[in-house]
Subunit: 561 residues, 2 copies
């Protein structure tokens, strides 16, 4: 298996007749999926998603792929294929379209409806091309064929891309539920046909490659829901992802069977379920869904609330209920169902919500104590089937952290793909398919681009490093006016702190040290403001370290008179 | 089941002949376990541990129980029973002994050795009383009997406490491995005997009450280790907890069988394994353990490194290896085993380490892909056995977050403990056992006490709130000298920022706004420095919010001349 070399340089010119594949996101992380295909000087993009920040990226709203390698070539882009409507596949589109608004978006009906709703908030009206499974569309030099795949949102598509360089297949996110609620299978017949034609490069979802076995069918959840609904005495509150139409469908069905009404809570939940209902993806019996305001008129055992917040997001309804900071007050006997995954990194937040709800007496049903969630990504067992059906010449695992990519590569190797033809790339690593062989040839810029408030890209790694220090240790600001010839302090020092845990009164102890240090430096002829600021920083820093064994940030302002 | 009422006040005087139980830590959280027993005006403490901070407590080193409810009564404390040597049971002892150094510590041989080593670092020589299973010791009015229990550290004890108020049993942490490596079982015969005598109040470990079934035997891991050792080509690096003597024993045994030498890396690992070896808990074949410096002389396939860092701690050896920031450079073919649990909240850090190691070509074996860890706490199946053997009159779940306490309470109820006799308390909630019935009677102070650097308790919730704002949004400091009669700025403004993502040059735009605001306030006769500072804060804050949609902390210094 080829790994990217840490010292990769920019790629050479793509040989004529070659296909270049450059992942700008999603390889080395779960999120901000984006892959650029290049043939004959033209570009086709598959997906353009966002990544959600971790605690190492404090205060950040979203993380985008770095568009710099395509920024000078916006006119070369023939289209953006969107495999499905999840944020980690479509969330970056508004930011790319800000740079050029008329790049066509290609996707299924639901996917386009979701991205259009999102673009409306950004006041962008996109050019779109609706496709469905079985369709073939020529997009520039790229002959695309769309294949139905099964995922945790309806209407997901894989895309087969034919160029004279060969046949590349990008799965997008997928699993292989053999009893899907909507009857729409991952189309293994189509993949068999593509396999017989000869798949030169398979880009395959790695998310669950470490997980042995098979994902149970989504419909298995309905039995568990029924059981919970049967024994619930009072209100039922269900938290789930706002795009998981089939999960919500099962909740609606259970509510209907048990004579309860349903209200949707939360902007994204209301919006997405409206779209899914209008387009026929969500079947809602007449009178079942009511406005949340009318719930007070119903007895507790006829109520179901469906909300977001299943990941412990602090501003979502569910967290606020757990903190008694929401109009819906949890009482002894309420049932809360977290019908969703627990995304790694969210454990503390989610358990905080579960503990809060439990403390008020709610019976909390979650993934940890009942089968109320199944994953949307193929596990190892399914991936083995998939490789055996596709029998690709070259494999490039996508969508995953390093551990997932490597596990997926090992599965491909087990089914007989020659290890030399398995390319483990990461974001920015350029893979060229030339003469039927995929090879790493270089690397382009593919760092994190941070969205914070209105700005995109202004917050840098260095600002984040400052935030981490500020957040861990707090800050001491020191203002002092110095007579530059004597070194005497003639104004201030004004010393203030936030978050250091040091009382402002304690700073009296450092003033003699500052006096002494500044006087000595004047004797030594030190006069540069910059040097004096360094001196103040060092003097206060040493005092704090000696007295408290802490290292807050120190922000000195020295004014010389 | 009784829940604590949110508006509980201080408890009434304890009726004569009653036993008062006050948990100061460990109920509502996993960590800082500490329970105070009171009878006839005297106090007995069981455990005094620390809690490790979450991301919500940035920069904090440790969290202690709040000692305020016993601070005025230090002379009433007859002893501190330590059930075992884990940090969450002994880590707070140095801080309590700082307040009174001669409170006797009672525990088993290994437990006392570990606390003594820790106290030596704090330069405290404690009074100790070594006990073992089967021992009875009268400690003040408390007739204590110690019972062997099985946990993830050797030599753990439960304690039965007899007073005229009745028989209370505190399990400490325990599980019921039926094939323990050292042959030391959780002594169900002793618990049966206590049950027949009549347990009036059982305080029982809740950590795994939500987990169905039984914890597999520790020795099951050895087969998995042997398999990994057999197929390893190069070095083997094992990360585990520095106190898990039996886990390390199994690693030593596997190394010995496969002709490898072992070096311990990391201060706590070296220290604890030295203690365990000296006291006979760790059996080390001659010549097996070598100094880490001699490893370079050995071929890669004869080397095992045992280190800490299994929770992704950034400064530990393992994280530094993952970042190529350690003398041991991971290469293709090395095997890394994380033979430990994954404590909730550490997922991101641990996966970051796994991804880093994988990226350098290591084969990483962890809980997620092999059975290299078993828990130290009894699962639901074991707890049912335990309740049926003990048949206590009253139950008080301990050691757990709300979800664990409640799950444990439900298990007790299922075995026939009357729900009215099950008390779900939380930290600070006072439970009195009077006339054979346990009841919640009040609440004492039991908040978090933060250790940060040298200080204990100086960092408050308000400092932490500041840190969270600083960490998410950064800071802008504004220094300005104002002529208080005209409102004219006569010095500065000096505006600097850290972590806001706003370039210092951009602040030129806010200066006219400051000029205008200060001039207007002078016209309005505003002159108080405090008010002017507020004005500066508001003016800059509004500008940042309008221009960037962000809310950094603003720290104004206004000097009036």
């Amino acid at each position: 298996m080829s790994h990217p070399h840490p010292e990769l340089g920019p790629p050479p010119k793509l040989p004529e007749g070659g296909l270049r594949v450059t992942p700008l996101g999603g390889l080395g992380e779960i999120g901000r999926n984006m892959t650029v295909f290049e043939y004959g000087g033209r570009l086709l993009i598959v997906d353009c998603g966002v990544l959600f920040p971790e605690e190492e990226q404090p205060g950040i709203d979203l993380i985008l792929p770095d568009f710099s390698s395509v920024r000078d070539r916006l006119d070369d882009i023939d289209g953006i294929v969107l495999t499905h409507g999840h944020e980690d596949h479509i969330g970056g589109v508004p930011y790319l379209l800000r740079e050029k608004a008329d790049i066509p978006l290609i996707g299924s009906k639901l996917t386009l409806a979701l991205i259009e709703a999102k673009l409306q908030e950004h006041r962008i009206r996109p050019y779109t091309l609706e496709v469905e499974e079985g369709h073939r569309e020529r997009i520039g030099p790229f002959e695309c064929e769309f294949v139905s795949v099964n995922h945790s949102i309806p209407d997901a598509l894989a895309v087969a891309i034919r160029t004279p360089a060969g046949l590349a297949v990008h799965t997008g996110d997928f699993k292989m539920d053999q009893l899907p609620l909507d009857g729409r299978l991952t189309d293994l017949r189509a993949f068999s046909r593509l396999g017989e034609e000869g798949i030169d490069l398979l880009l395959c979802d790695s998310t669950n490659a470490e997980v042995p076995g098979f994902v149970p069918p989504e419909r298995d959840i309905s039995g568990v829901l029924r059981q919970v609904f049967s024994s619930a005495q009072k209100r039922i509150i269900v938290a789930s992802f706002a795009s998981h139409v089939h999960r919500i469908q099962q909740i609606l069905d259970a509510a209907h069977e048990h004579g309860r009404r349903v209200a949707f809570v939360g902007r994204s939940m209301v919006r997405n379920m409206g779209i899914a209902r209008d387009l026929g993806y969500l079947k809602v019996p007449a009178g079942l869904v009511v406005d949340v305001k009318t719930l007070d008129d119903l007895p507790d055992d006829e109520v179901v609330l469906v909300c977001t917040g299943s990941q412990g997001e602090p501003m979502a309804a569910l967290s606020r209920m757990a903190n008694r900071d929401h109009q819906i007050r949890i009482v002894q006997g309420d049932t809360v169902i977290l019908a969703s995954s627990l995304i790694p990194g969210n454990e503390n937040a989610v358990y905080r919500v579960i503990n809060g709800l439990t403390r008020w007496g709610a019976n909390v049903v979650h993934k940890g104590n009942a089968k109320v969630h199944v994953s949307g990504h193929a596990s190892a067992g399914e991936l083995l089937y998939f490789y055996n059906i596709c029998q690709p010449s070259n494999v490039m695992p996508v969508h995953g952290e390093w551990r997932h990519l490597r596990a997926n590569a090992e599965l491909a190797a087990k089914t007989g793909v020659p290890p030399a033809n398995i390319v483990i790339a990461e974001d920015g690593v350029v893979v060229d398919l030339v003469g039927g062989k995929a090879k790493i040839t270089g690397k382009v810029q593919a760092g994190y681009v941070y969205v914070d408030g209105l700005s995109v890209g202004d917050v840098t790694e260095s600002s984040l490093k400052d935030r981490r220090i500020l957040g861990d240790e707090g800050i001491i600001s020191v203002f002092v006016v110095v007579d530059s010839t004597t070194g005497k302090i003639v104004g201030g020092p004004h010393i203030q702190s936030r978050g250091s845990g040091i009382d402002d009164a304690a700073f009296a102890a450092v003033i003699p040290k500052l006096d002494e240090a500044l006087a000595r430096s004047a004797q030594d002829g030190v006069a540069e403001t910059h040097q004096l600021q360094q001196l103040v920083r060092r003097t206060v820093g040493k005092w704090v370290s000696d007295s408290y064994r802490r290292r807050p940030m120190i922000l000195p302002v020295v004014v010389e008179v």
